[in-house]
């Protein structure tokens, strides 16, 4: 069982993964932000490198910030990025 989710990456997370966005089939047993990161890191070296420093990764689900311990619910879009530096 899985659902198809749009993943978007920004800044050096994007550069290390090597794509701007992609659609992935996320297994149903991946429920929290932290579990999403662990699962992604299993997809390949580029993901492992990009997401290695968990402290430096921020996430948004359906365009809202979540904490790693939050469940991702009915995620249609998951974004991963470094700490924001706007303003």
């Amino acid at each position: 069982m899985s659902r198809n989710v749009k993943f978007i990456y920004f800044a050096w997370v994007r550069e290390r993964i090597g794509v701007q966005e992609e659609r992935l089939d996320l297994p149903d047993d991946v429920r929290t932000g932290a579990e999403v990161i662990t699962w992604l890191k299993g997809l390949g070296k580029n993901y492992a490198l990009a997401l290695d420093d968990a402290q430096a990764i921020r996430m948004a689900v359906n365009q809202e910030h979540i904490h790693p311990s939050d469940t991702i619910g009915t995620a249609r879009e998951i974004a991963l990025f470094p700490p924001m530096t706007g303003g």
């Binding site: 978007i8 920004f10 800044a11 050096w12 948004a60 365009q63 809202e64 910030h65 974004a79 990025f81 470094p82 700490p83 924001m84 530096t85 706007g86 303003g87």
Partner: protein, 158 residues
């Protein structure tokens, strides 16, 4: 009546004077107008430009969430927030916040609050383009920004 924030994310430069004039013209009850402009520094000549990457859609939504919260917290007559993306040269504006209120405390605090939250929770990322023509690194987040944001999260909040 609660103010409705004016939120814009755009590649084009903004004109702070024009935005202020529009806000002032809309009400003669405004006693205090605080404007914050964040400018691209040249970093002592090292920098050719800053590239601002953003998460389209979420950037606007997140700016609106923060601005709505500011309008709930302070009695504002107007609140405008414009954030640019794309390539920005030294001396050019990156972000503009204008807060208007009857009295200065509300205007100062709302603008200050807006900027603290924009810095730490609006999805924008800065990359340096160097004067020697090479591409520099992504700007690291500033711990002081997190500390500044934490100022607004007292026990009495929410």
């Amino acid at each position: 009546m609660r103010a409705t924030p004016d939120i814009r994310v755009q590649p084009e430069p903004f004109d702070a004077a024009r935005e202020c004039a529009a806000i002032s013209a809309a009400s003669n009850g405004i006693g205090a107008l605080v404007t914050f402009t964040g400018l691209c520094r040249n970093e002592g000549g090292r920098l050719a430009a800053l590239e601002l990457q953003h998460y389209a859609g979420m950037a606007e939504a997140q700016m609106r969430r923060i601005a709505d919260e500011a309008c709930d917290r302070w009695p504002l007559d107007a609140l405008a927030v414009i954030h640019r993306h794309g390539l920005i040269r030294p001396g050019e504006g990156i972000v503009l916040v204008i807060a208007a209120a009857a009295h200065r405390r509300a205007a100062f605090e709302a603008a200050d609050f807006m900027m603290d939250y924009l810095k730490t929770s609006a999805p924008f990322w800065k990359r340096e383009h160097l004067a020697d023509g090479t591409l520099g690194g992504w700007v690291a987040a500033n711990e002081a920004d997190d500390d500044a944001t934490a100022r607004w999260q007292g026990a009495a909040d929410r």
